[in-house]
């Protein structure tokens, strides 16, 4: 079978490369299934402490492969809800719930679900020449893969609506200026910069980082009061982790910490 996802684990970093370069790494069902298998491994394997997602070739991901969506004008309407429910929604949920940092290294065009997928990652680094394209509205569709949730949160309501309604391109520089992504680097530096960041994160207190991620996610729906309660609970758990002890003792001894990433 074709390997539409390349998966390599090294020094605590699982690198997932979307690999249909001739189709700008656009999603089909098999690619979704292969990605789901890799995520299962990332969830279960404690030695994986950071996830890095990038694309093979000149694109990051062009979203859904429209060759699979060729609509027969005489036939019944396709049920796009089915592919959202079976593939995109579980993917977004699992990346959000993964108690480890997820980095998107956006190496080339990110369109449709490819763009919203990147925005759903914890940290986004983009090559300078990259464009994010919210192409959905031009096909009469809505931004899926978490798009309508992430966009207003990363770009603000006015920009999110403008982007989504116009379906325009957004340059990496503009996305950075708007605070939608973490960093822009020259194209040839992207791979190195992203890998360095991923390896750094993979050596950090993973359990604590996972709690930070879950807390930020919960904050999107919690009241201040509820969030303060959650902070108490998570800090209680974090304070019991071996990495907290290690962090404090390394700080006091003025030596570099050796984090295990474990909860207990």
């Amino acid at each position: 079978m074709d390997a539409f996802i390349l998966c390599a684990v090294e020094q605590g970093v699982m690198t997932l490369t979307l690999n249909r370069p001739d189709r700008l790494n656009s999603f089909n069902d098999v690619m979704h299934q292969q990605l789901a298998e890799c995520l299962k491994q990332a969830e279960r394997d404690d030695s994986v402490r950071c996830l890095l997602i990038t694309g093979a070739g000149r694109g990051f991901c062009a979203g859904q492969d429209l060759n699979d969506r060729n609509v027969d004008p005489l036939g019944n309407a396709p049920d796009l809800g089915m592919s959202v429910e079976n593939f995109y929604n579980p993917l977004v949920r699992r990346l959000a719930a993964l108690p480890k940092p997820v980095i998107a290294a956006v190496n080339g065009v990110a369109a449709g679900a490819g763009a919203t997928l990147a925005l759903g990652c914890d940290m986004v680094i983009a090559a300078r020449s990259v464009n994010f394209i919210m192409a959905f509205s031009k096909l009469g569709l809505i931004p899926d893969c978490g798009g309508t949730w992430f966009l207003p949160r990363v770009a603000g309501r006015a920009r999110a609506l403008g982007l989504a309604l116009m379906g325009d391109k957004l340059s990496a520089e503009q996305a950075l200026q708007w605070g939608m992504i973490w960093q822009v680097v020259d194209d040839e530096q992207l791979a190195d910069t992203a890998l360095t960041l991923a390896r750094h994160l993979a050596a950090q207190p993973t359990y604590g980082l996972g709690l930070i991620k879950q807390a930020m996610l919960a904050a999107e729906t919690n009241t201040l009061d509820e969030q303060l309660t959650l902070e108490r609970d998570y800090q209680r758990l974090a304070g019991r982790s071996p990495d907290y002890r290690e962090g404090v003792s390394a700080f006091l001894a003025k030596r570099p910490p050796q984090f295990s990433g474990k909860s207990s």
Partner: protein, 255 residues
């Protein structure tokens, strides 16, 4: 290793379902142990409240299908299981379920039987009996509808679909949600608070709460007043009110 781990934390009895190989399925032996542990606790003045829990992934994933599969109509008619449930339900002391992970079928029914349910945010509640061609047989159709209302209860019982902790909280099945790693700790903490109250007042209040599910509002109010009046004859009532007025912590003696 026993299938029911029993530990005591001050005045709180913690009962931990421990059949990990069977996802804490509630077979007759385990129900019997639960009933016996609760009956022993009822006689023990040093225990004020009980907490029932499972592990981080399963509270209890149902009844033991192997036990049930071969029971024909006659065997089911004469099953001892309803009596085991009745013995657990007869527990007079406050019962708190600390639910992490799956509480399905009999596991959900056990949680429903408890006075308070605290849940980890990974908890799921469901009555999937219908998917097996049977139906809930230990209170699932009765207690669920009383806590979450007709529509959601019917949806769960008729479809067999489960709900998550958040939905259970909204619906009133659960009183609190917390991270799974803290559920038991927080349940024991609440149980410790409860166990510090007057034992007779707890018993009377629990009885009144239970009766609200049994009788009309009018009869319930009368019973409530009778129980309230009964407490007027206790030493603990005098102590409780005196301590409040003297701004000190009461010392209850269960008399």
């Amino acid at each position: 290793m026993s299938e029911l781990l029993i530990t005591q934390h001050d005045r709180v009895l913690l009962l931990t379902l421990n059949r990990p190989q069977a996802r804490n399925a509630l077979n007759n032996a385990l129900l019997l142990q639960l009933a016996e542990a609760l009956e022993a606790a009822a006689q023990d003045a040093d225990i004020g409240a009980c907490v029932i829990t499972g592990d981080e992934r399963f509270f209890a994933a149902g009844a033991d299908l192997n036990e049930m599969a071969d029971n024909d109509l006659v065997a089911t008619l004469n099953d001892t299981r309803p009596q085991l449930w009745a013995r657990i339900d007869a527990c007079k002391k406050p019962l708190i379920a600390a639910v992490n992970g799956y509480a399905l079928g009999a596991g959900c029914e056990l949680a429903l039987l408890c006075d308070i349910v605290m849940a980890g945010d990974n908890a799921r509640f469901g009555l999937p009996e219908i998917t097996l061609g049977i139906m809930p047989g230990a209170g699932g159709t009765q207690r669920l509808i009383r806590s979450v209302g007709k529509s959601l209860a019917s949806k769960m019982v008729l479809s067999g679909e489960s709900i998550d902790a958040q939905r259970a909280l909204q619906a009133g099945l659960v009183s609190d949600i917390c991270p799974p790693a803290l559920t038991v700790e927080y349940a024991v903490k609440l149980a410790t608070t409860v166990a510090g109250r007057s034992p007779l007042a707890l018993q009377a209040a629990k009885q009144a709460l239970r009766q609200s599910q049994e009788v009309s509002l009018h009869a319930g109010l009368q019973l409530e007043r009778q129980l309230f009046t009964l407490l007027a004859a206790t030493d603990d009532r005098a102590e409780g009110i005196a301590a409040f007025r003297e701004k000190r912590t009461p010392t209850f003696k269960g008399r």
